[in-house]
Assembly symmetry: C2
Homo-oligomer: 343 residues x 2
C-alpha cells in the first residue's frame, strides 16, 4: 500500500463518492459543469470516465490522518475540500490563461463561456468550506481556517504569476515565493489537513505542512527544467515550450541573476517582442541557443540541485516527528512520485 | 440610535477599520483593487473617500448580536465577512454583466482586466472565511458554515439570473427563488450571523434569518417595480430600464403567467429580438405600451402587495422571539429603509 500508484488509486476510490455527493449539492449548472470538469460526465451529461487527473492532494490528505494514527475516514472531508479548492483554481486559471483544453477535453470556459467558469469555480470554492464545516467536528474550524489561508496564498501565487509576465526582471526569491504559493501551499495544506482533522499536535501538523511546502517547490523546479529541456514524448508538451512563451521560470530567473555575458544575452532575448505564433517568434535554432545560454549560466544545474535539496528537507521533516511508518512511507513515495520525473 | 441612517452610519464607522485590516492581508494587487472597489483609494492609490455603498449588511450583522443581548463587537468578524462576500459577488457580477461603472467609478475588470477581477473577487471570498475562523471563537465554525452555505445560494441566484436571460418562459416561483437566493440569502445571513457568533438559541437565529430572507425578497419586488415604473430622478436609471433589457423581472413574470390577451401580447414582445442599442430596440411609445400591458395584467399591483405581505412576515418573525427592544427597532428600521423607496 505504500507505493505511489497504490496510494493514488486508493485515494481516488475513497474520495470520489464523497466528492460526487458534495458536487450534487450545487445548482444544476455548476453541478453539470463541475461534473464534466472532473471527468465524470460528457458535455451532454452522459456518464463517462475521462482522465480526472492524478488526485495527488486527496491521497496526501488521507495519508496525513493515517500518519498520526487516525483512520483515513477522518480526513475524508479534508480530502474532498482540497480537491475542490484545487479544481476551483484550475477552472479559474484556465479562463485567465485562455487555455482551451485540459487533459484533452475542452475547458469549462471554452464550452460554456467565461461567466460559467467564474460561477462554477466560485461554487467549488464555497463548497470546499461547506464540506469541512458540515462535519460538525471540533477540528473542522482549524481545518477550514487552514484551507482559507491556503486559498489566499494560492491566489497570491496566481497574481504573481500573471504579474511576472508583464515584468522584465524577476528575482529568484520572487520566483521561489510564487512556486511556494501557487504549488506549495495547497500540497502543504493537503499533507496537513488530515492531521488537523484528527487533532494531532501542532509540531506534527507543522512537519507535515513543511513536507508539502518543500515537495511543491521541488516539483516546480523540476517542472520548469522539463519545460525547457524535457523530452516532448515524455512531457506531452512541445520542446522548449516555456522558452517559446518566454516564461520567467526558475532556471531562467537563476541564470538572469548571474553576472556575465551569458545572462546579458539572455536578458536581451527575454525583452525581445514575439509571442508564439506572432512575428518575432523564435525558430528552433534560436530556442536551442537560449536553452544553452540558460544551461551555461548554471540555470539547469542549480534548479536540479535545489530540487534535490528541498526533497531532502521534505523527507527530514517527516522523519523528525513520530508518524505511523506505513503512512510515512506512503507520503514519501507520493512526494517522490510527484517530483521525480524523467529529467 | 434606532433610525436606519443612524444604524448604517454606526455600522460603517465600526466595521471599516476591521474591513481595512482584513483587506491589508491580501497580496498587493488584490489589496489595491479591493481598496479601490471599497472606495478607500483612487486608481493610483491615493487616499479618497468615494461612495462605498450603504453597507446594509454589516449594520444588520452588528444589530443581530445586540438583538440577542451581546455586545456588537462579537459580531464584528461576521460584519466584515458578510461585507466581503457581498463585494466578492459585486466584483464578479460586474465582470459577468459587463458593467463598466459602479457608483460612478469604473469597475475593477474595466480598469485592470478580467483576470484581476476574478482574482480579487476570489481573494475576498476566501478572506471572508479566514476573518471568521481566525477569531478562534467556538461559534466561528457555525458562522463560517452559515456563510459558506449562503455563498452557495448566492451563486445559485446568479446562475438563475443569467439562465433566465436565455429562456423565453420563467415561472413566478422561479423568479421568487432567484430573488431569495441572489438578494435574500446574504441579507438573511447578515441578520443572523451576529446572533450565531453570540451563541443565541436556534429559534432566535431562525427568526432573524427569516427576517432577512423576507426583507430580501420584498426589496427585489420593489426594485423590480422601480425598474419599470420608477422615476429616473429617484432611481438614477433610465425610465423603463428593465423593459429595455427585456428583463424577466417579478412583475413581468407575474403578468406573463396570467391567462388572457394582455399576457399573450407581452409574451410576443418578450421574444422579439432587439437589445438596447441594437436594431429592434423599442421606442419610448412601445415601452410605455409594454409597461401598461404589465400593469393591466396585474403585475404592478401584485408585486407591491407581495412586498407588503413579505414585510409583514419579516416583522412578525422579529416580534415572535425575545429580542433586545432597541436592536429590534433598529432591524425593523433598516428593513423598511431597504424596501420602502419612492414607488
Amino acid at each position: 500500500m505504500s507505493t505511489a500508484p497504490a496510494c493514488l488509486s486508493h485515494g481516488r476510490v475513497t474520495v470520489t463518492p464523497a466528492l460526487r455527493a458534495a458536487v450534487d449539492r450545487l445548482d444544476h449548472r455548476s453541478r453539470h459543469q463541475a461534473a464534466y470538469h472532473f471527468g465524470w460526465i460528457t458535455v451532454g451529461g452522459a456518464p463517462t470516465s475521462a482522465d480526472a487527473g492524478k488526485a495527488v492532494r486527496p491521497a496526501l490528505a488521507l495519508l496525513s490522518a493515517e500518519a498520526v494514527g487516525a483512520p483515513p475516514e477522518v480526513a475524508l472531508p479534508g480530502a474532498v475540500a482540497v480537491e475542490l479548492v484545487h479544481n476551483f483554481s484550475l477552472v479559474h486559471d484556465d479562463l485567465m490563461d485562455g487555455d482551451e483544453e485540459r487533459r484533452h477535453r475542452r475547458t469549462v470556459w471554452k464550452l460554456w463561456g467565461p461567466s460559467s467558469a467564474i460561477l462554477t469555480g466560485d461554487a467549488m470554492l464555497a463548497l470546499a468550506q461547506e464540506v469541512l464545516l458540515d462535519t460538525g467536528l471540533p477540528t473542522a474550524a482549524p481545518a477550514a481556517r487552514l484551507l482559507a489561508r491556503t486559498t489566499r496564498h494560492l491566489i497570491r501565487g496566481q497574481v504573481q504569476d500573471l504579474s511576472f509576465e508583464q515584468r522584465s526582471h524577476v528575482t529568484v526569491e520572487e520566483c521561489i515565493d510564487m512556486a511556494a504559493c501557487k504549488t506549495g501551499a495547497l500540497l502543504s495544506a493537503s499533507a496537513a489537513i488530515g492531521a488537523v482533522l484528527a487533532g494531532a499536535p501542532e509540531a506534527t501538523v507543522a512537519a507535515l505542512a513543511l513536507y508539502g511546502d518543500q515537495v511543491g517547490v521541488a516539483f516546480q523546479l523540476v517542472d520548469d527544467v522539463l519545460g525547457i529541456w524535457g523530452d516532448p514524448a515524455v512531457t506531452g508538451k512541445p520542446v522548449h515550450s516555456d522558452l517559446r512563451s518566454r516564461k520567467k521560470s526558475l532556471p531562467v530567473s537563476h541564470a538572469l541573476n548571474q553576472d556575465g555575458p551569458l545572462s546579458d544575452e539572455l536578458a536581451a532575448w527575454l525583452t525581445t517582442p514575439g509571442e508564439p505564433g506572432e512575428p518575432g517568434e523564435l525558430g528552433e535554432e534560436e530556442l536551442r541557443r537560449v536553452a544553452d545560454l540558460i544551461e551555461g549560466a548554471g540555470g539547469r544545474d542549480w534548479a536540479l540541485a535545489e530540487a534535490t535539496r528541498r526533497m531532502a528537507l521534505a523527507e527530514d521533516a517527516l522523519r523528525g516527528v513520530k508518524l505511523d511508518a506505513g503512512a510515512r512511507d506512503g507520503l514519501l513515495a507520493l512526494g517522490r512520485f510527484v517530483v521525480d520525473r524523467e529529467v
